[in-house]
Structures are given as structure tokens and as C-alpha cells.
């Protein structure tokens, strides 16, 4: 087991080193750690020797073996894509017709169904206030699609799961990035062995992520170029484009990706997880097949939901070619390698 420490150490090891990716794992648990405009801050000093804040944080030492045993009942092997049962191509099915999606709409379809068939009583999603990501608890299936599309900015989504426990939800679903779902997985370990602990997480859907942007830096950056109120969409076209595209009703702005990457939080550089390994299902863009997603089924529960979704017309599946799998493996493996190198550089 890794050693669990407190807020002071969390500040010293993560936040003061600018490694926080604002996942929200430490937020909503206590009056000390709070999120504001994409950043997490500590309001007052907490002197506890052991805290959930530290235990949940994906940037403190993480016990992958314990997570693997808890989620998959199997040994952690450190493979690029993590533990999985199958990988397929997927997109929203006829039941979701009429909705427009950035990629395949697979995530929206899965969460809509999960709420409709009461697999979960609430979904923690990341909506938007303007273009600023805004985590929220959604209980109506019809509201799921309002939270669709990529935000590109770090958001304290896990805070909603922490808060949801206090609001009486017992089966929550969450859609999150790799760091967010690492926090959720650690939360489910009941790290402080609290007697009154209840695991209210009933479904975790991960989103592939190579990086997110520092919300404040990115907003300031955009504000200098465009009236952010008028932005209709943001997208990273597949390689070799190397651009970030911002669209408004009047114009399309292309920003070189290098300028964008300068706003990636330092914490992303030590993240070993591209495909959100600590989840029931993870979803990413299928780069070779526009309008489709890659869907990674990791748990039995995830597999069942996918089967139901196909049967009920929420989801359409297709083969994920071997060539694409190799490509995905390479990308995920490279992220792991870079993370390792960067972490070692920081330690030295």
C-alpha cells in the first residue's frame, strides 16, 4: 500500500509544484479544498495526518495494483491500454437520432440509456457555462446530450461525485478523463477505512485524453483573440493537421497546436493514462473513421450496458481493425513512457 498523508503534503507534493490537473478528487469532501474557475485552492489549513484529499489525488503516489484488484479483480500489468475485455468501434444508434455529436456520440448514448433503465440514479457529467466547463449532476436522460462535446479544459468533475454522496444518491455514473477516473477509483478503495463509507459509484465511463488545458490560461488566451461568448465549437482535427480550430458564427480561427500545448498543466506531463484505464468503459475518437468512436469495454458491467445499448438501438458497433489497435497501443504506450521520463526528471 502507498502511504496516505494529509493536506499539507498534498499541497507540498502536488499543488505547490503546479502538478494539479483540477480533477476535483479532493473537492466536495470538506470545507478546505475548493474549486474556482478551473483551479483548486485550499481555503484554510488542515492539519490532519491522513486525508481523503491526498488519498484520492491522482498525482500523489497511486497504488495501481490495489486499483486493479478492486476494479478488475486481476493483477496490474502496466500494459498501454490497461485491462480490457474487448475493443470495438461504436457510435450513437437510431435511438439517439437528431442529436449532433463531436465524434460518435457513444458516451451520450451510454449515459442516456444508463439513466433511462435506472442502472444509475444520477450522472456526473461536465457541461458548459459558455465555453467554461461546468461539472453537474444530471438526473434526466434528456439532459445528457446537453453535456456532450469535448471541453479541452480541466474541470473538477469528481467534486460532484463527492457531493452527490451527501445528497443521497446511491448509484451514480460518471463520465471523466483519466485523471478524474483515477481519483474515483482511489475513492472507491475507502482509503481511510471509514466505517460509514458507501461506494456510490455504479458506472464509470472514461474519455481518452492526451492533455487538457489550464482553464484560466486558455480562457485568457481565447479572450485575446475572440469574443468567447460567440464560440460555437472547438476541435482538434486529426493529424497531421497540428492545429486547434475555434469556430464562431462569423469566423474560423486556426491556432497552431504548439501554442495550445503551452497551456497544458504540468500535471498532464506525468499522466501515464491515455485511455482512462480505471473505468467500466472508455471512449475515444476513432481517428481513422470520422463520426465513430473507439469503445473499450473493461468490466462485465460495462459489457452488459453496451449489449443493452446495442439491443435497444442506442449504440451501433463495428469492428475495430487490428491496424488501428496497434496505432492506439502505440499512442497509449508512448504516453506512459513520456510520463515516466517526465516524472523521473522532476524527481531528480
Amino acid at each position: 500500500m502507498t502511504q496516505i498523508l494529509g493536506s499539507k503534503e498534498l499541497m507540498a507534493q502536488v499543488r505547490n509544484k503546479d502538478l494539479c490537473t483540477a480533477c476535483g478528487g479532493c473537492v466536495g469532501l470538506c470545507p478546505y479544498h475548493k474549486a474556482y474557475k478551473g483551479k483548486i485552492a485550499m481555503t484554510f489549513d488542515c492539519d490532519m495526518a491522513e486525508g481523503r484529499c491526498y488519498a484520492h489525488c491522482p498525482k500523489t503516489e497511486t497504488d495501481f495494483e490495489a486499483l486493479s484488484q478492486r476494479l478488475f479483480e486481476s493483477e496490474y500489468k502496466g500494459t498501454p491500454l490497461g485491462t480490457y475485455r474487448r475493443i470495438t468501434a461504436a457510435k450513437a444508434g437510431p435511438k439517439m437520432a437528431g442529436d449532433r455529436f463531436q465524434n460518435g456520440g457513444t458516451v451520450s448514448a451510454l449515459m442516456t440509456l444508463a439513466l433511462e433503465n435506472s442502472l444509475i440514479d444520477a450522472a456526473v457529467l461536465t457541461g458548459k457555462d459558455g465555453i467554461v466547463p461546468e461539472p453537474k449532476i444530471v438526473t434526466e436522460a434528456a439532459d445528457v446530450v446537453k453535456c456532450a462535446s469535448t471541453k479541452y479544459m480541466a474541470a473538477p468533475t469528481v467534486a460532484c461525485l463527492n457531493e452527490g454522496a451527501g445528497q443521497g444518491y446511491t448509484n451514480m455514473g460518471i463520465v471523466g478523463t483519466p485523471c478524474q477516473l483515477t481519483a474515483v477509483a482511489q475513492m472507491r478503495l475507502n482509503p481511510l477505512n471509514k466505517a460509514d463509507f458507501k461506494d456510490i459509484t455504479a458506472l464509470t465511463v472514461g474519455i481518452f485524453c492526451t492533455w487538457a488545458l489550464d482553464t484560466r490560461k486558455f480562457l485568457d488566451f481565447l479572450k485575446q483573440r475572440v469574443d468567447t461568448q460567440k464560440i460555437t465549437s472547438m476541435d482538434v482535427p486529426p493529424p497531421p493537421a497540428e492545429i486547434f480550430v475555434v469556430k464562431t458564427a462569423d469566423e474560423t480561427i486556426e491556432i497552431p497546436l504548439d501554442e495550445i500545448r503551452a497551456m497544458v498543466p504540468n500535471g498532464c506531463s506525468i499522466c501515464p493514462d491515455m485511455t482512462a484505464e480505471w473505468s467500466d468503459l472508455s471512449v475515444g475518437a476513432f481517428e481513422g473513421k470520422p463520426g465513430w468512436n473507439v469503445l473499450v469495454v473493461r468490466t462485465e458491467k460495462g459489457g452488459k450496458l453496451v449489449d443493452q445499448a446495442v439491443e435497444a438501438g442506442y449504440l451501433v458497433l463495428d469492428d475495430f481493425p487490428e491496424e488501428s489497435l496497434q496505432h492506439l497501443n502505440l499512442g497509449a504506450g508512448n504516453k506512459k513512457k513520456r510520463a515516466q521520463e517526465n516524472a523521473e526528471r522532476m524527481d531528480s
Binding site: L29, C30, P31, Y32, K34, Y36, K39, A41, M42, T43, F44, D45, C46, D47, M48, E50, G51, R52, L192, K194
Partner: protein, 645 residues
């Protein structure tokens, strides 16, 4: 009817030093008294205000000390007797006008009463006002006991009129705030008729123009007047000597140190060996008097508080007199015999005196010091300075800290002078990071707000109380607005000069004498200057924090947030609980992850107690002021409040 207006001559009363000074002014027939509240000086104006109708006075709490001095000076120009009362740093504020007043001269007797605070018991400085007498070339009187506090004040008016200039009387905390016997003198029935004569020859001191120009002429005149004061000092009854004809050591002292010196001589049983020259007229020193006493012995111990003022002046005279009186050995601050900081006490006199006399006496044996330190660290619970239960400042700084931390740009508070100065301490969540003079929080913030050019992105927030706002913040605020300095000023408006005892200020509908006054509107003043202003009740956390967030968002200019909630100790509110508070002990999370005693460890209102046995918080009914704030703080909703019917 108070004791202060009792007519009976020769009656003996127990008076506080400040009351004795007020009585002295009444016995002198003072007509106008003005000041600005500041410990340890406040009771002088307060007591005079109480008898203002009865004794036919005009008394005011002025907006600041400079204006107080100007108000008092006007009375003098109109041939009335007047006093201006202030604490040590107040004299700094008034000193610009005072420099010019000393040059122009006065007509009706006028005194500056400066109450110093050696040891900074109620200050954040231990400024020594005595230097101003030398700097401004005006006479300085220092009472050595309570009777003198009265008698000297009365006589100072005569001196002022004799030399036609302002006279300074200096007290210290231990004299102003301690009490002693005072025998009353006559309370005169004087006609107080104000008339400003200005139609005579312009240099005429009684009927001309009142100004310090032409400077060389007036300056020389001022120095001649001062020479007259020195003559009067040579045989002043306020300079006394006690001791043998040829003492082994001569102690020269003044003010409260007179009492410490007498006690030291008594404890060492050395009254036959030590002479004590207690000076009441400490600047300029009377040379003949000094020659007489310096001639008595070769060893001189000078006992005074803070800076070596008396020491330096005595040494200058001793050097001049050396051909007549010989070479002296001085024991004072410059050789380390007496400390030049903090207040004095008998022990600090005993140590050097015993050494000079060769007496084996340790005022504070090492064993005693060690034991007392041991008791203070282990015997008594540690108690920090803290805001009172129900204090709005605790709530205000809770929100300010919250917003600055969440804003996450290393924002900070420029503190100011008032109870809220404690924002530097844990009770104010250590939000204040600078603190200097009255109004300086806003002035310093105004400067920080212009450093964006050099890469500074930290938000600068200034705080000030309502009284401080009027005293010295207005010019700083105007400066910040004019220069588009990017700052937020938070006015902690608790409806009174709370720290010094609820003296009224220009924001209130009442004046020092209890009469109706025009209340100035802080919001309207700030808005008319061009600041963006919002108001909130600091007890409403959510609203207050949202408003502060919103104001901080606005860049390039001055934002003002007025947090209005009356002081918990104000006469209107004291003892009246708005809420009955209760704690559900079963819900209290205590030391668990998720709370970690937020209310008793961070909020730390004295009305909350941590029950170590039960591991829960509880309300101390006797202390709780029923403000309801802690209910908003508890993350589990374990603290509830019920409105008192």
C-alpha cells in the same frame, strides 16, 4: 453631574490620569476641546464631552488629529482656551499644522495633550512625542503623578498665554490609565467670549494676521518666547528634588518613571544615598536648575522611557556646564543601563541603581524568571488575541480569505488601524500582510495596484474601518481612483470607532456631545469619486463572497465593498442575541476528515468550545453573542440557529 465638575475646592478624589488632565483643563476655563480617539488618550475628550453643556464647552471628535489641532487653534485665535488631545502617532498626523502653528503663535492658551504608549500596549508603535517639542520648538511638560496631571494642565494654559505659543503636555499609558488621589482646585466662572481680531498691523501678535510668515522674523520671535518659558521653568514647582544634600548618585527622571524610581530607591533602602531630581518641565531644560543638581554628585542615572530624549538634553547641558560642574559619569540608555524600548518598571531601575551603589540585589532572580516562564507556558492555556464573539470582522475576513484563496493569485490584504488590525493573526485568518498608519492600507494598496506594469498580478485588497475611512482613507482612495489603481477597498463598517470605545465619527448622526450631526454616506462618497461600490452584510457569506468575486473580476480601477454590520459590543447590540445557537452532537464531525474542527480550530469564535471528551463542539452559552455565523460554517449543518423571539 460628574466628579469633574464638582466646585468644592480642596476636595480629594480618586481620578484616572486622563480625568485629572480633564479637570485641570476645566479649572483653567477651557472652552474648546478637540481630538481623535486613540488609546491611551480617549478618556480626556470623552470626559470633557460629558460635561460640555454644564461647563459651557465645545467638544468634538474631529475627523483626524490634524483637523482637531486646527479646530482647537481656531479657538485660541479667537482668544479662548483650547486643547487638542491625541495619542502619540496622532501627533505625527497633526504635526504639519503644528509646525506652522508654533511659528504663528497663539492667543488664547492652547495645549497639545499627547498620550504616549511606551511598550505599545494599545498601539503598533512606541513613538515618543517628546521629540516634537524639540523639533517644533515648543515647551514640554510631563506630569509625574496624578495631582500634577491636573495642576500642570491648568498651569500650562497660563504658560501658553504668557509666551503666546502652544504648549505640549505629555502623558503615558501608565499615568493616563492608572488612578490616584487628586485635590481639586477652584472651578472658575469665566466668561468665554470668542472674537478673532485681524484688523491690526499684520505683524501684531494680538490683532494681526496669524501665520508663520515672514519666517525669519516669526522664528526668532518664537525662540524668544521659548526663552521666556525656560525662565519660568527655572523655579517651577513641577521640578522637585528629594534626597540627601550630597548623594552618591543623582537620578534624573520624569513622567511615570518618577514613580518607578521612587519605588526602586525604596526597595533598595537607599534614600540616604540617592538623590531624585524629578523634572516636570522637560524641554527646554532649565540650565540653572540643572547646574545646581548636577553639581551635587558625579554619578548620574537618567531614567526615562523609550528614546534617550532627557539623556541627550541633559548631556548637552552637562557638557556646556563642565567647566563649572566637572566631568560626570552617566548611566542611561546609551551605555545600556536602561533599555531604549518597551516600557519601564521598578525592576529596570533597580538593576542599574543597585550596581552603581554596589548593593547586591537582583530584582528578578534567574530562578524566579525560569519559574514564571514555566508557569506561563504550562500553567495557563495559550490564548491568542481574538475578535470578540459575534464580531463582524471575523465573518468579513472569513469571506475575504475565502475569496482570495479561491481566486488563487496570491492576493493579500493591506491592513489598517482598528480591531481589524488583528487580521494579521489567526483570528483574521492571517489575511492582512501589511499594516502601518491610519489610512495606510489604502495608500499602500494604491501603490501595489500600479505595479501591473512590472508583472504584478496579485490582487491588492485594502481594508479600513468606518472611522479610519474618514480619518485618512479618503485621500488615499482619491489617489487610487484618479490613477486607476487596480485595487479593492473593503470598508468594514461597524458603525462606530469600536476599538477605542464607540466614539462617533462623521458617518454617524450624533457627535461627541451627543448632539445631532450630519451623517456622511460612505457609499455616496466612494461613488462620487468614481469607484464601483457594492454593499453586503458580512454575516451573509454567500452574498458577500459573490460580490467580492465580482468586484475582483473588474480590472483597471478602484472597487469598494462596504461590509456593514454593527459591532457586537456596541451599546445598541451588546447582550442582545439574534439567534439561540445549538449543536447537534451526533452530527458534529469533529476531528474527522471532512471537517477537522473547522469551527473551533479555524473560525475560533470564543463562543465555541471543543469538548475533548465527547469529541464534539459545543456552544458556550455565557459567551455566545448569537450572531449565527458558525451555523453557516459547519460543513455538516450540525450547528443550528433559532431566531430569538
Amino acid at each position: 453631574m460628574t466628579i469633574l465638575t464638582q466646585k468644592e475646592k480642596g476636595a480629594r478624589h480618586l481620578l484616572m490620569g486622563n480625568e485629572a488632565i480633564a479637570r485641570g483643563a476645566l479649572e483653567a476655563g477651557v472652552a474648546v476641546a478637540a481630538g481623535y480617539p486613540g488609546t491611551p488618550s480617549s478618556e480626556i475628550i470623552e470626559n470633557l464631552a460629558k460635561v460640555s453643556d454644564e461647563a459651557n464647552l465645545y467638544v468634538e471628535w474631529s475627523i483626524n488629529e490634524k483637523v482637531a489641532m486646527e479646530v482647537a487653534a481656531a479657538a485660541s485665535f479667537a482668544e479662548l482656551r483650547s486643547i487638542c488631545v491625541l495619542k502619540q502617532n496622532g501627533l505625527n498626523v497633526a504635526s504639519d499644522f503644528l509646525l506652522h502653528l508654533a511659528g504663528s503663535g497663539t492667543r488664547g492658551g492652547m495645549l497639545v495633550i499627547a498620550c504616549d504608549d511606551p511598550g505599545a500596549l494599545s498601539s503598533i508603535n512606541e513613538g515618543d512625542t517628546r521629540h516634537f517639542a524639540r523639533l517644533l520648538e515648543i515647551p514640554l511638560l510631563e506630569p509625574g503623578d496624578f495631582q500634577e496631571a491636573k495642576d500642570m494642565t491648568k498651569w500650562a494654559f497660563e504658560l501658553s498665554e504668557m509666551m503666546q505659543n502652544v504648549v505640549m503636555v505629555r502623558s503615558v499609558t501608565r499615568l493616563s490609565h492608572a488612578s490616584g488621589n487628586v485635590v481639586f482646585g477652584e472651578l472658575p466662572e469665566v466668561e468665554k467670549k470668542a472674537r478673532f481680531r485681524h484688523e491690526g498691523f499684520f505683524l501684531d501678535p494680538n490683532e494681526g494676521v496669524v501665520t508663520s510668515s515672514p519666517v525669519f522674523y516669526k522664528h526668532e520671535l518664537q525662540q524668544k518666547k521659548l526663552a521666556k518659558a525656560v525662565e519660568a521653568f527655572e523655579d517651577s514647582p513641577f521640578n522637585t528634588y528629594s534626597g540627601p544634600e550630597n548623594p552618591e548618585v543623582l537620578i534624573i527622571t520624569s513622567s511615570a518613571c518618577n514613580l518607578y524610581s521612587r519605588e526602586a530607591i525604596h526597595i533598595l533602602e537607599a534614600k540616604d544615598r540617592v538623590g531624585l531630581l524629578k523634572l516636570g518641565t522637560t524641554w527646554p531644560l532649565p540650565p540653572k536648575l540643572l547646574e545646581k543638581y548636577l553639581s551635587k554628585t558625579d554619578k548620574i542615572l537618567i531614567v526615562e522611557e523609550v528614546i534617550p530624549f532627557l539623556e541627550e538634553n541633559v548631556k548637552i547641558l552637562a557638557m556646556e556646564l563642565a567647566p563649572k560642574i566637572g566631568i560626570k559619569t552617566f548611566y542611561a540608555k546609551r551605555d545600556g543601563s536602561i533599555p531604549a524600548f518597551n516600557e519601564m518598571n521598578p525592576d529596570l531601575v533597580i538593576n542599574p541603581l543597585a550596581k552603581i551603589l554596589g548593593i547586591d540585589y537582583e530584582a528578578m532572580p534567574a530562578e524566579y524568571v525560569a519559574q514564571s516562564q514555566d508557569f506561563t507556558t504550562t500553567g495557563a492555556p495559550a490564548r491568542d488575541l481574538t475578535f470578540c464573539p459575534g464580531c463582524p470582522h471575523r465573518a468579513s475576513f472569513w469571506s475575504i480569505n475565502h475569496v482570495l484563496k479561491l481566486d488563487n493569485n496570491q492576493g493579500f490584504v493591506c491592513g489598517d488601524i482598528g480591531c481589524y488590525s488583528m487580521a494579521m493573526l489567526p483570528t483574521g485568518f492571517s489575511t492582512a500582510k501589511t499594516m502601518h498608519a491610519m489610512g495606510s492600507g489604502t495608500g499602500v494598496a494604491s501603490g501595489f495596484g500600479k505595479l501591473g506594469k512590472f508583472g504584478m498580478e496579485q490582487p491588492a485588497v485594502a481594508v479600513c474601518g468606518d472611522s479610519t475611512f474618514f480619518h485618512a482613507v479618503i485621500p488615499a482612495l482619491a489617489n487610487a481612483v484618479h490613477h486607476k489603481s487596480d485595487i479593492t477597498l473593503i470598508v468594514l463598517d461597524n458603525s462606530g470607532t469600536a476599538m477605542t470605545g464607540f466614539q462617533p465619527h462623521p458617518g454617524l448622526k450624533v457627535d461627541a456631545q451627543g448632539k445631532e450631526a450630519l451623517d456622511l454616506d460612505i457609499q455616496a462618497i466612494c461613488e462620487s469619486m468614481g469607484a464601483k461600490v457594492d454593499i453586503s452584510d458580512p454575516f451573509e457569506f454567500e452574498q458577500t463572497q459573490q460580490k467580492l468575486f465580482d468586484l475582483l473580476e473588474l480590472k483597471d480601477g478602484v472597487k469598494v465593498l462596504i461590509l456593514r454590520q454593527i459591532c457586537a459590543l456596541s451599546p445598541e447590540k451588546k447582550g442582545k442575541k439574534k439567534y439561540e445557537m445549538a449543536i447537534d452532537e451526533t452530527a458534529c464531525m469533529g476531528e474527522n476528515c471532512g471537517c477537522n474542527r473547522l469551527c473551533t480550530r479555524i473560525l475560533r469564535c470564543p463562543g465555541l468550545i471543543w469538548d475533548k471528551e465527547k469529541n464534539t463542539s459545543k456552544i458556550d452559552e455565557a459567551i455566545c453573542a448569537g450572531c449565527g455565523v458558525c451555523a453557516s460554517v459547519c460543513p455538516e449543518g450540525a450547528i443550528s440557529r433559532k431566531e430569538v423571539a
